[in-house]
Each structure stands twice: as structure tokens, then as C-alpha cells.
């Protein structure tokens, strides 16, 4: 059985690595787009099952990316977690994204979302405490 795929779109290298590492820990094949620049190239099959999306990106707007994801037949099914430091945007995106998280985003929170969508995904040996 192949692992589900996940995509992290986050320009902050540290946060990008954290999300990627966490998702790999939770059994995802996680890839990182650190600029939002390579997004279009990656928008091919197979679509990722989970996307963590930052809003303020150097080369693209997270909002536009979210719209394209939701417009694409293949990608629309992906679980999108918007992770932002912008409280104002977080309110307006609440209806479009599956989850909106205000930074600092906790690994614990990501794990809870993953468990919510894929109850059997996480290895029982991972101790969240």
C-alpha cells in the first residue's frame, strides 16, 4: 500500500521543514513548494490528499492557489489546511478551506486533523504527549 501524498506550500523554510517532517511522521509522502512558484508544474496527477497552504507567498497569492485547487476536478478533493499569521484573512478563508490555522501552527493540531480525516493513518507508536 502506497502512502498518501501531501503538499506543503510555505515560504518560510523552517516552517516548511516542520510541516514536511511532521507529515512524513504521520505517514505521508510530503513534498515542499517553498515559493508557490512551482505550483502549476505540480498541479498534475496524482493530486495530493492533503495540502498545507500559506497565504503570503513571494510569487503567488495563497488565495488564488486555493481558488485554483478548488476549481480543479482532480484536486478539489484534497484536504486543504490554510496556515496563516493573518487573522483577518483567516476569517474570510474559513468557508473555502477545510481548516484554517493561525500561526504558530502546532504539530499536535495537524496530527488531530490527520486523525480526523484518516483515522488509521498514524502509527500508534507516535506519542503526542
Amino acid at each position: 500500500m502506497t502512502n498518501p501524498t501531501a503538499l506543503v506550500i510555505e515560504d518560510d523554510p523552517k516552517l516548511g521543514v516542520i510541516y514536511q517532517t511532521a507529515l512524513r511522521q504521520f505517514g505521508f509522502d510530503a513534498e515542499l513548494d517553498d515559493m508557490g512558484r512551482d505550483f502549476r508544474a505540480r498541479l498534475v496527477n496524482p493530486a495530493p490528499a492533503l495540502i498545507i497552504l500559506d497565504i503570503h507567498l513571494p510569487y503567488a497569492s495563497g488565495i488564488e492557489i486555493l481558488e485554483q485547487i478548488k476549481a480543479d476536478k482532480a484536486w478539489r478533493e484534497a484536504v486543504v489546511i490554510v496556515a496563516t499569521a493573518d487573522l483577518f484573512l483567516s476569517k474570510s478563508l474559513a468557508s473555502q478551506a477545510d481548516h484554517v490555522m493561525i500561526k504558530p501552527v502546532s504539530v499536535d493540531q495537524i496530527m488531530k486533523i490527520v486523525v480526523g480525516h484518516w483515522p488509521d493513518q498514524i502509527q500508534p507508536d507516535i506519542d503526542s504527549q
Partner: protein, 723 residues
């Protein structure tokens, strides 16, 4: 009766006609008091003359006797009426009463009665015959005893009258003089006539000249009284005008002797007429020697003199004017003395009150000025001049008030005062900037009062105060307020920016610590895991601080918006309970919730913020409670309100802390709080959110027993946003 012509009749008829005319004329002027007496006298003379004429014309003895007798009516009345007239003319008519007239009339009445019956007793006429001289014929009689009594009596009356008239003539001066001469002629005529008749020097020896003489008398009087148009200056007019006037009047002749004085002057001089007439003014005015010296020879002057001192001080106006006769020669002087004490006292009081007012206005610390109804200055007090930089009042008078106002203020100023003028508003207050002569702004706060004379607005009076310092302070305050608002806005902006910028690095710390904890980077020793957990704990605290700072900043900057949606109170309470139960359990506390069944099942409001309020209050309650529990109630308060009540059995809050516990960054300083670190923003944010929702928060607490926070909120209708 038979008559025959005699040329002697003509002058007598003429005399009768003349005196008859005098009677009619003076009767027509009878409004003057002496005129009636003159009329009667003239009628008597007429009757005498006419009777005498008919006696002479009579052809036989009987006719002559009849007319000779009838003349006596005039003959006996003339001396009597003469005296009466004399008294009137001398303004002594008061002597003429029944008690004086009746006794005086006895002898004339007896005489007339005896004349009519003389044939029986011969007491008047003894032998009666006719004497003829040429064409002249008259009765020739020898006189009886009573005739001489009658004659003597007549002469006495004639003399009395003459003396009275001469005396009154003697008092006349100046303008009266020519009249006096005529009157003297009138008085002398009967005497001359009689003297001629008795001495036999008459051109017609037996003709009695007396009726002619009296004709001359009455004509002279007529001429004297009416002919000179001196009726107004006659003693009668003098009585009414001069005697009754309030001013004292003294007439002096050229030798400064008093020739006339009126009652008011006598009152002022405290003397009697008999003591002063004919006396030298200097002898009478002994009380005022300086006046005599000063005005002894002055013909025309006006002066004010004062007599007495203190309470009794009186003021008089003294007026000297020359008297001219008809020849325009100076005949003497009239001195009038008017008591002007009341006027002087009133003037003095007015001057004193004016002086007081002026002193007050001039020494006032406020600017006081006046303008006319058009706004041109009519007065400015010294402080006004000094503050505006003027050297003298003359520089301001006649200038328009708008000239002194700051140019940018003139329009509003004009509008304001035009409105006051039109509305007739008695008093107004206005603040504006004036420009001093140095070009500086002088802020004035002025009360302006309308000045009226009757219904007419005649000007404005302003009392103004220099409020430049006050204005500066106000401006500084306004500036400071703007600055503070701007600073507050910048602070909020800064906080928002910082909190935003803090979130990313916080994410890094949190994330790596959590990854360490879940062994993402290899198995950790327990101590290392514990260290990672401490890092996560610290980051969570920091994150909370950042969130609250941002809330506080947004509330202060008034950028917090409430998102009103429907929510289920039960669901809200459950989610709070779910979040907080673990925390309560960790401290061994019980968390109990209750929803009033009266409360609507669905309500409207910002659920997220209500959640925040509840979490704040419950977290606080748990934090400050060691044993017991925390209770959360949702209550229906009244038709329009509901309440959230959070009670605990904790340490309680001292009463003196109630007032500052809701202020940001304030915590009650008790040992417990030192161990229970908080941002100090929770209650402040809670209170401000509650108020933003249109509600209020209250606190009841007893130290050691516990606290109850009650949030009273309006029940929102759908679609209505909170303030």
C-alpha cells in the same frame, strides 16, 4: 320839558360821549381787574356830564332843577368810584369789601336823598334861581348845610384816591414811567378843574369844570392803562405772574434801591415787603456781602450761589438783567433768584455715580468698551487700550469693531452680532481673536449687552476677558489629544504588526519542539523530552500573550468587529465545558454548567467572542480556586437581557481592587497571583468585548469565599448588529 340851544352844551355832550366810550371800551377789557372800576367811574362821569348838559339846555326852571338833581347821582358816585378804582389800580383791591364800601357809601346816599327832597328842607340847595351869562344859563343856588358836608367828604375821597394812585405810580420804574406820567395827569385833572371853578378863574364863571376834569381823568386812565399796551405789565398781571412764581424777583433802580420784590424773594431773604421797599440792596443782602460787592454794578450776569452748609446747604441761580424803558434807556435791574437745590443735588448725585461708574470701569481688570448701534467705538477703558496696544482712546473712537478682529474671524463675528442685533438678544457670549496694534492675536471671550433707549437699540456694551492663555492651553490640549490618539493608533498598529511578525518564529519554535517531543529526530531521553515539553509550554504562553495583546490593541483602536450569527447557547456552553474540564480536573475542581430553560434555544451574537469571554472567565476562576468548584450559568435576566454568570469558591477579590481589576495589565497583588502568571489582559479584554456587545460586567466577591462575575447582555434580534 323845554330845552333851548346853548353852545356850552356841546363840550359837555362831548365829554359825556367820551366818558361813555371809555365806559364801553373798558367794559370790553373787563378781564383786567381795574377795568370794571374804571367802567363804573366812567359811567358816573357820563351821567354827571349829561345831566349837567341837560340842565344848561333846560329852558325853564323845572327842567333845570330836574336835571340839576339828577346829576347828583354821578356827583356822589364819582368820588366813591374814584377811590374804588384807585385801590384796584394799586393792587389793593383787597381793601374793598362790603365792610368798607357800605360805610363809605352812607354820606353819598344821604346826599342824593337830600338833593331829591331839597325843596322841603333846603339842606342842599337853599334858594334856587337861574343865572345867565350870555347864552349860558344854569341853576344858581345858595347851598345848605349838608352841601358842605358832601363837598368836604368828596374832597377827602378824592384825596385818598389821589394819594393811592400817586403812591402806586411812585413804585413804578422803567417801563412803567411813561404810564405813570399819564396816570398823574389823570389824577391831577379834577383838582385843577375844581381849583379853576372855585377860584373863579374859569373862562365861564358859573360853569362847573369838574365833569370836564373827570372826563380828562377817565380818558387819561384809558390811555394810560390800555393805550400803552401795558396791560400785561399792569399791577394785575404782576400779581398773578410775579407774585406766584417760585423764583424770587427783585427790581432795583439805578441807585440799587429795591423798588419791587415778590413773595418768593421775601421768603428767600426771610424778610417782609415793608422792610425792604425803598431800601438799598446792600442793606438787605447783609448775609451775602460778596454778592453785593461782586454784582453791585453788573447789569447782566448769571451765577450760582450757595448759602448754608451741610444738610442745610441751598443753591440758588442768580440772574441779573437790565430793565429798559421805552426810550431804551436803562432804568434799573431785575434780579431773579431761583432755588436750584434739588437740581444741584440731583446733578451732584449723578456726577458721583458717574464718577463711581467711571472709576469701576477704568480700574476693572476686564476690557470694557462700547460701540454705537453700527459697531463704531464710543468708549474703551484703559485696560482695553493697553491690551490692544493703543496709546489713547482717541485712536480707537470712531473705528469699527471688525477692524480690530482677526481677518479670518470677521465674517463669523459680523454674523453673530448682526443676529444679536436683529433678534434683540440682551446678552451674548462669544470668543474670537482680536489683532493688537503689534499684530499679535489676542483671544477675547466677551459678554455683549445691548444698550437701549426706550425701544431703540443705541449701541452695545462689551465686557471682555483676555482668554489667550486659555485658548493656548485648549489648543495645546487638543493637540496633545490628537497626538495621543495618533500615538494610540500607532501603538495598535505596532502591536498588530509585531504580533503578526511574532507568529512565524513562534511557529518555528513550537514546531521543532513538538517534533522533538514526538521523536521525529530520533529517540529522546526523558529529560530531553521534558525540556521539549517546557519549550512547547512557553510557546503556548507566548502565543496567548500575543493573541491578547492583539485583541487589546484592536479594541483600543476600535477595529474589533463583531460577527453576529445565530448560535445555540447549549452548544456554546458545551464547547467551553469541553475545553475547560481537563484544566479543572487537573486541579481537582468540579466544573458545573446550567442553562435556564427560559432562555431561547437559538440566539444571535458573535459566538467566537462569547466563547472567548467564557474561556477567560472560567480560566480565571479555575486559576484562583484551590478547592471546590466553578459554576457557569446561562440565565434569562428579563425580556431583553440574558446573563452569563461564572462563580467560583476561590480566593476572592478585595473590594478596593474592583475598580482597577478590569484595567489592562492590572492584577491583584496577592501571593496567589504571583504564582499564577497571567498576561493581565484577560479581564480588560473581556470587559471591553462585553461593552462592545452592549452589555455590562459586574463583580461580587468576598475574600476567601469566592467571586461571581456576571455578564449582562442584550438579547440580539437576527440581523441586528451590536454596536
Amino acid at each position: 320839558m323845554q330845552f333851548q340851544y346853548s353852545p356850552y352844551v356841546i363840550p359837555l355832550i362831548l365829554a359825556a360821549l367820551i366818558s361813555g366810550w371809555v365806559a364801553v371800551y373798558s367794559w370790553s377789557r373787563r378781564a383786567n381787574r381795574g377795568a370794571i372800576a374804571l367802567t363804573l367811574l366812567a359811567w358816573a362821569v357820563t351821567e354827571w356830564s349829561l345831566g349837567y348838559a341837560l340842565e344848561i339846555a333846560g329852558a325853564d326852571l323845572a327842567t333845570k332843577v330836574f336835571w340839576g338833581k339828577s346829576q347828583y347821582l354821578g356827583i356822589v358816585l364819582v368820588p366813591l368810584l374814584w377811590v374804588g378804582f384807585a385801590f384796584h389800580h394799586a393792587n389793593q383791591a383787597k381793601w374793598l369789601t362790603y365792610r368798607t364800601i357800605l360805610p363809605m357809601s352812607i354820606i353819598p346816599a344821604v346826599t342824593f336823598a337830600l338833593v331829591l327832597t331839597t325843596e322841603m328842607h333846603g339842606l342842599v340847595w337853599d334858594k334856587i334861581a337861574i343865572t345867565r351869562t350870555g347864552s349860558f344859563s344854569a341853576l344858581s343856588v345858595s347851598y345848605g348845610f349838608w352841601f358842605w358836608i358832601h363837598t368836604a367828604y368828596s374832597y377827602i375821597l378824592l384825596l385818598i384816591g389821589t394819594v393811592i394812585v400817586i403812591r402806586s405810580v411812585g413804585r413804578m420804574r422803567g417801563v412803567y414811567r411813561r404810564q405813570a406820567v399819564v396816570l398823574l395827569l389823570a389824577v391831577m385833572a379834577p383838582w385843577i378843574g375844581n381849583a379853576l371853578y372855585l377860584s373863579g378863574l374859569s373862562p365861564v364863571p358859573d360853569l362847573d369844570l369838574t365833569p370836564f376834569a373827570f372826563t380828562v381823568t377817565v380818558v387819561s386812565f384809558t390811555w394810560g392803562i390800555f393805550g400803552f399796551q401795558l396791560v400785561d405789565l399792569s399791577p394785575i398781571a404782576r400779581a398773578t405772574v410775579i407774585d406766584e412764581m417760585n423764583s424770587g424777583m427783585i427790581v432795583l433802580d439805578l441807585r440799587n434801591r429795591i423798588v419791587d420784590i415778590n413773595p418768593s424773594a421775601l421768603r428767600i431773604l426771610e424778610t417782609a415787603e415793608s422792610k425792604v421797599l425803598g431800601q438799598r440792596a446792600a442793606d438787605i443782602l447783609t448775609a451775602w456781602p460778596e454778592l453785593v460787592e461782586k454784582y453791585g454794578q453788573v447789569m447782566e450776569a448769571v451765577d450760582e450761589i450757595t448759602v448754608g452748609e451741610g444738610e442745610n446747604q441751598r443753591w440758588f441761580e442768580l440772574r441779573l438783567s437790565p430793565l429798559h424803558n421805552r426810550g431804551n434807556e436803562i432804568a434799573g435791574r431785575v434780579v431773579t433768584i431761583t432755588d436750584i437745590t434739588p437740581r444741584v443735588q440731583a446733578e451732584t448725585q449723578l456726577l458721583e455715580s458717574r464718577a463711581l461708574y467711571k472709576q469701576m470701569v477704568e480700574s476693572a481688570g476686564d476690557i470694557i468698551y462700547r460701540t454705537d448701534a453700527n459697531g463704531y467705538f464710543t468708549y474703551a477703558n484703559p485696560i482695553a487700550l493697553r491690551l490692544m496696544g493703543f496709546e489713547s482712546e482717541a485712536e480707537v473712537l470712531g473705528r469699527h469693531y471688525l477692524e480690530l478682529a482677526a481677518p479670518h474671524q470677521r465674517h463669523d463675528l459680523r454674523k453673530f452680532y448682526n443676529r444679536q442685533f436683529v433678534a434683540g438678544e440682551t446678552n451674548t457670549y462669544y470668543e474670537f481673536a482680536a489683532i493688537t496694534t503689534d499684530g499679535n492675536e489676542l483671544w477675547l471671550g466677551q459678554n455683549v449687552q445691548i444698550l437701549r433707549e426706550g425701544d431703540r437699540i443705541v449701541g452695545f456694551q462689551a465686557v471682555a476677558r483676555d482668554i489667550t492663555e486659555l485658548k493656548r492651553a485648549q489648543n495645546a490640549l487638543a493637540f496633545a489629544r490628537d497626538e495621543a490618539l495618533e500615538a494610540s493608533r500607532l501603538k495598535s498598529l505596532l502591536l498588530a504588526k509585531i504580533s503578526h511578525e511574532l507568529r512565524t518564529p513562534l511557529g518555528g519554535i513550537l514546531g521543532y519542539a513538538e517534533l522533538l517531543k514526538i521523536n521525529a529526530f530520533g529517540e529522546l531521553a526523558n529529560q530531553q523530552k521534558e525540556a521539549a515539553a517546557q519549550i512547547v509550554d512557553s510557546v503556548n504562553y507566548l502565543t496567548k500573550l500575543v493573541n491578547e495583546l492583539l485583541d487589546e490593541a484592536q479594541i483600543e483602536a476600535k477595529t474589533v468587529k463583531l460577527y453576529i450569527n445565530s448560535f445555540l447557547p447549549s452548544a456554546l456552553l458545551q464547547s467551553v465545558e469541553a475545553k475547560m474540564t481537563l484544566m479543572a480536573q487537573e486541579k481537582g475542581l468540579e466544573l458545573v454548567t446550567f442553562i435556564d430553560p427560559e432562555l431561547p434555544k437559538t440566539m444571535y451574537g458573535d459566538e467566537h467572542r462569547l466563547h472567548q469571554i467564557l474561556v477567560n472567565l472560567v480560566a480565571n476562576a479555575i486559576k484562583f480556586t484551590r478547592t471546590g468548584g466553578v459554576r457557569v450559568n446561562f440565565l434569562a435576566a428579563d425580556a431583553g437581557h440574558w446573563a452569563i454568570q461564572v462563580s467560583d469558591t476561590g480566593v476572592g477579590i478585595p473590594e478596593e481592587a474592583y475598580k482597577y481589576i478590569f484595567e489592562p495589565f492590572r492584577q491583584v497583588t496577592i501571593p496567589h497571583t504571583l504564582r499564577n502568571r497571567g498576561t493581565g489582559l484577560g479581564l480588560s479584554i473581556t470587559k471591553q468585548l462585553v461593552e462592545l456587545m452592549g452589555g455590562q460586567i459586574s463583580l461580587k466577591s468576598r475574600v476567601g469565599r469566592g467571586s461571581t462575575f456576571t455578564v449582562l447582555l442584550p438579547i440580539q434580534k437576527p440581523g441586528v448588529e451590536a454596536i
